[in-house]
Symmetry: C2
Subunit: 380 residues, 2 copies
């Protein structure tokens, strides 16, 4: 089937060979998609089975959200409300989600996950990474990932999310479980492995053990690090060749140098900093050093219950010193790099025909019009 | 015609006599609306011409947006982009909008305004104040207000928005025009008069002259003040008995004391502070002193191009030390107070049947889920 999107006022290709600047901007463009793959950009007048008139609006690649925790049950609005009224955030609330998720049936989790996926799609996101990490036992971690696979190819085993109830003071034993039977049960359903390297979660040796076991099982590597304070996460991620290290709020010059000299993407999750009243990362330093950056929602019920990449872009521009062009690219091409994908996050011949038509003449409106749902149509 | 909204999981009435706490929360509620007026809250099983099943969701009064500049032409995304990349904001960009607005036909302005009104409605806002102030000559200010009246009863003459081209160094002469022929042409189409009391706009004597002339012409009074620095705006607003003084970012203890001892509402416009990288007001001090506060979008193409009251609520909670309950009340009942309206901003017998059904079980989700369009249905 051939789809032509034409009368595009401004097209973001993310390919400098196709258009102006780093975003490869093309004015008055069309995109031809054949069986889900872009076959040409810029040509018009093609014969098509389906035609979408963008009516002069801006079109960009669908957002690539490389960090979500989408399969969960329960609601933590009360915890959020308390935190906003002044209670400190210590992350302990994850256990509330763990209990609710374990207790939910497969079908309950399917319905909840499908609704969140639909919300992401309406918000313009066409590629979504989904982590486990709210079950924290062998059977339920594997169940989470089996369910996640029904919705996305980008599934991540995050058994090392936190030390679960029953393992207090025995984190090493829990890590043995994660690296052994849990990994064995989960690896068939996962593309990636991840761990939470932070004071209060797991230390650098525990995280290294998890990543090494995951690599041995054939999984790609990613890491949570440097969210709540300085720490070894970024250095470990670079040492291990992780595709991405996520949060990156507290970075030393050495951390930034390590990122810049690697192909590990620094993924920022500014909606988390918004919803936990943490400082925002200084993306400017990281970009200026030459590292690749991404933006992701970190959609989860505790620290960032948003599906809106547009919101993350607006925050990145307002509070992380990113230009709008940088933020839009980080939400598309950057997310793709964080998932080691070259087929999404861009609109070039051969890439996936995943695109977003805005209710706006320019991608700049994603930051210029904060809070406004500007996604007219998502094509996937 | 009778409308029943039932199966409401949580109803915000804003009437402590009807339910729990300052928000008058009622669980498992229904609302009966007869010919556009609420006739009962809490009763169910009514005979109705139309029935809406809220399916257990949260219902609240439609938002009251007491500060917008909705009638304008042109786009200032480039100015926004430049400002975010580091150029200072001096407000001079208003002249760009003035030229475009003067040049637009009535029908062009109608189409643009209707689209923005529809966007506000989709975002849950059911009462909208609209200011003039982008024409700055007699005929076009009157034209702006004639067009605004087609969309709302809450129209505000803001001839004293800034000194227009042609009056440089002659602000007093321009104020004479505003208080004389311009007011005469505009008053028939306006409920309110407003002025911009700020260094770079108009001084306290000029603003007092505008407000006095407006009052003599039968208009209600409002004022922009204390946005970019400390100044006399708040004190003038209280002295003149303005319904509201808007921005209120820079407040002295004396300003707060004056507000607390008056019935002038302090209206905060946090999306403006977001989009201009200004500091946020400290709402906590103002609320704790006992003043009435409101939230509004200040929707305009220069400093705050959003229609999303939900976004303002999320910012107020994150960055202005307001609780979620306070922010939701400021966006409904507070906005109504800023317009001296007792028929909107609440859902009580006798009030307007303007309500919002959320895609969420609680109004807390408006801050808990930032950037997510949670308005399932707006009823007006």
């Amino acid at each position: 089937m051939t789809l032509v999107v034409d009368d595009i006022g401004l097209l973001v290709t993310n390919d400098p060979a196709l258009g102006a600047g780093p975003l490869g901007l093309v004015r008055d463009a069309s995109v031809v998609v054949d069986d889900g793959v872009v076959v040409s950009v810029g040509s018009a007048g093609q014969v098509a089975d389906e035609r979408i008139d963008a009516e002069g609006a801006c079109v960009l690649p669908g957002f690539v959200d490389s960090h979500t925790h989408l399969v969960f049950a329960g609601d933590r609005a009360e915890e959020f409300t308390a935190r906003m009224a002044g209670s400190p955030y210590d992350g302990g609330g994850i256990r509330v989600t763990t209990e609710a998720t374990r207790a939910a049936s497969d079908d309950e989790l399917r319905v909840l996950t499908a609704a969140r996926m639909a919300e992401l799609h309406r918000a313009g996101t066409t590629t979504v990474e989904v982590k486990s990490g709210y079950a924290l036992d062998v059977d339920d971690e594997a169940r989470t990932l089996r369910l996640a696979v029904e919705f996305t190819d980008e599934t991540t085993f995050l058994g090392a999310h936190l030390v679960p109830i029953g393992y207090e003071g025995r984190a090493d034993e829990y890590i043995d479980l994660v690296c052994g039977p849990m990994l064995e049960a989960c690896a068939p359903h996962a593309r990636w492995i991840d761990a939470f390297c932070e004071t209060g979660a797991f230390d650098v040796d525990q995280c290294r053990a998890v990543l090494e076991s995951g690599r041995a099982a054939g999984l790609g590597l990613r890491l949570h690090g440097n969210q709540l304070g300085h720490g070894p996460g970024v250095q470990l991620a670079v040492e291990m060749g992780c595709a991405s290290v996520d949060h990156c709020t507290y970075l030393t010059d050495a951390d930034i140098g390590a990122l810049a000299g690697s192909d590990t993407v620094a993924t920022f999750l500014p909606a988390t900093d918004f919803s936990t009243r943490q400082p925002y990362p200084d993306a400017r330093r990281v970009i200026d050093a030459g590292a690749t950056v991404a933006l992701a929602t970190n959609c989860n019920p505790g620290s960032s219950f948003t599906t809106s990449m547009s919101f993350c872009i607006a925050l990145a521009v307002r509070d992380m010193s990113m230009t709008i062009d940088e933020a839009v690219q980080a939400a598309t091409l950057g997310g793709a790099a964080a998932l080691r994908r070259t087929d999404v996050g861009r609109l070039t011949p051969g890439s996936a025909g995943h695109l977003v038509i805005l209710d706006a003449p320019s991608h700049h409106h994603l930051a210029y019009r904060p809070g406004v749902p500007l996604i007219r149509q998502t094509v996937r």
